[in-house]
């Protein structure tokens, strides 16, 4: 429910400001992200939606940024760790991302997607940039050696044990074909380009392309992101 509630409430400005919309929003976020709340977040059911917080942040409101931090630090750090596969670098990337959110909050446009999606796309892109940068070549090698092609499902569940969110994602990933799932997890969690995915899975480029898209569309339906 969490993702759905958030993403659906997100893109539409007016609902973000209304009491009810924000209530549902906050609740969804608080109930299902122990990783975040452990970090000191107290996501009470009335917390303002991220969209609203971001607009405060864009006006230099540091308290609002603290609230944004508390909501996003867990996913941002988790994703960075996952993609970069190196704790120190993941910390660096996560810090960059969070400061980038502070810096560019004014450029977030609710008409173009949810705040969460905006922020996590920044995080993913940063992670991917880091892992693809020239200096990361050796890291990449290590990563290849230590990462089997397809552990992600168990792995995902381990990372945030008992998280409803993770369970839901796992269930949805499980509903994909093997190839769809492998291609998506390699690309997203592994930070590989689709050419690299094609090499690793030994399937044609065009196949990767269509499987990723089909798989994501299926995931979208499963995760309930009605966009």
């Amino acid at each position: 429910m969490g993702v759905m509630a958030m993403t659906q409430a997100g893109p539409h400005g007016p609902s973000a400001g209304s009491g009810q919309g924000s209530g549902a929003h906050g609740q969804g976020a608080s109930g299902q992200r122990p990783g975040v709340s452990q970090d000191g977040a107290s996501l009470a059911a009335g917390d303002p939606p991220l969209e609203l917080l971001l607009s405060r942040v864009s006006r230099g409101d540091q308290r609002a940024f603290e609230a944004v931090y508390d909501r996003l630090a867990g996913p941002v750090f988790g994703l960075a760790s996952r993609v970069v596969r190196d704790r120190a670098q993941a910390e660096e990337v996560a810090q960059e991302v969070l400061l980038e959110i502070w810096r560019t909050a004014s450029r977030f446009d609710p008409a173009r997607g949810s705040a969460q999606s905006w922020a996590l796309t920044i995080a993913h892109r940063r992670g991917v940039d880091r892992v693809r940068s020239a200096g990361a070549a050796s890291l990449r090698e290590q990563r290849s050696a230590t990462t089997s092609v397809f552990p992600p499902i168990e792995d995902v569940a381990d990372t945030v044990a008992a998280s409803l969110e993770a369970e839901r994602v796992r269930r949805c990933l499980g509903a994909l074909t093997d190839l769809q799932r492998e291609a998506i997890t390699l690309a997203y969690y592994g930070g590989y380009t689709y050419r690299e995915v094609s090499d690793r899975l030994k399937v044609a480029l065009g196949t990767v392309k269509t499987r990723v898209r089909d798989g994501l569309i299926k995931l979208r339906g499963c995760l309930g992101v009605a966009w």
């Binding site: 993702v3 630090a73 996913p75 400061l99 560019t104 450029r107 997607g113 940068s133």
Partner: protein, 281 residues
């Protein structure tokens, strides 16, 4: 521009949303998206889906991390909320990067640099950002209020509203606004690289029946000559009204200008435009 068949390009929406396209292919797909609203919307929705994958791997940062990040915040300059729109693109190309540099010691990623050159696609979400988000919202609000309240006395069609809404939702959208020499405001909504522009004017003086407001696309000077094309006319409004024109045929480097012309319009402007909006490239 795009040589590949549309379908083949379109299928890249998935890998693009996972940031799994690189280099030329990424550039090509972004160009394709400039003219493919369906692709754009699909990528957006798939970004939402991907963010679900991120939530699933959330993990608490190490102790002290929160304090470090929050302590760094005051020293990181923020991008202006809307600021001077006309000057915005300059800030975007330069100030933004320097701000980024000062914010972080290990910046200058290839990707942002590349994106800067093509704000049109500007990587949706993060760069989404790079649109004039706050301004687009402000204009949307302005329209929501104004258009609704004056709609009955205006000839703002659903199609025009839709065109505007679409444009405002396009990553990289630029909104330029200026007070005109005749009073009132003119606004141009445009996505660099696209051929469409929406021109809005409000509070322009009411013209006699023998005159019209004509909108022009004024090309950059080539050998000292501006190539000027008519983009159409602004609909007549009551005093204080808002009028909108959806025009196409924008070329890189164009400036939108408005003049008063005899009813029926002119082939070339007969006076100097009373407002000029230089579209971002």
């Amino acid at each position: 521009m795009v040589r590949l068949p549309g379908r083949s390009q379109h299928a890249l929406a998935g890998v693009y949303a996972l940031n799994a396209l690189a280099g030329v292919e990424q550039d090509r797909f972004e160009r394709h998206m400039d003219g493919c609203q369906a692709c754009l919307e699909e990528v957006r929705s798939l970004y939402e889906t991907a963010s679900g994958l991120a939530l699933a791997v959330a993990a608490p940062p190490p102790p002290g991390f929160r304090e470090r990040v929050l302590a760094a915040v005051p020293s990181v300059p923020q991008l202006p909320a809307q600021a001077d729109l006309a000057a915005d693109q300059a800030a975007r190309d330069t100030g933004q990067d320097t701000a980024r540099r000062s914010a972080r010691p290990r910046p200058a990623h290839r990707r942002p640099a590349r994106k800067m050159r093509r704000p049109g696609l500007a990587g949706l979400l993060p760069k989404i950002a790079i649109g004039v988000a706050a301004v687009a919202t402000a204009v949307a609000v302005f329209l929501g209020v104004r258009l609704n309240s004056v709609q009955s006395q205006l000839s703002v069609s659903k199609a025009e509203q839709l065109a505007l809404t679409r444009l405002l939702n396009t990553p990289g959208v630029r909104v330029l606004a200026a007070r005109t020499k005749l009073g009132g405001d003119a606004t141009a909504v445009h996505v660099p690289g696209q051929t469409r522009v929406v021109v809005l004017a409000k509070d322009l003086p009411v013209l006699p029946g023998s005159k019209v407001y004509q909108v022009w696309l004024i090309g950059a000077k080539v050998k000292g000559v501006n190539h000027i094309r008519s983009a159409g006319f602004l609909a007549r409004t009551a005093a204080g009204g808002t009028t909108i024109l959806v025009a196409s045929g924008v070329r890189i480097g164009d400036t939108v200008g408005i003049t008063i012309e005899p009813a029926g319009g002119s082939k070339q402007p007969t006076t100097v435009p009373f407002v000029a909006l230089q579209l971002a490239r």
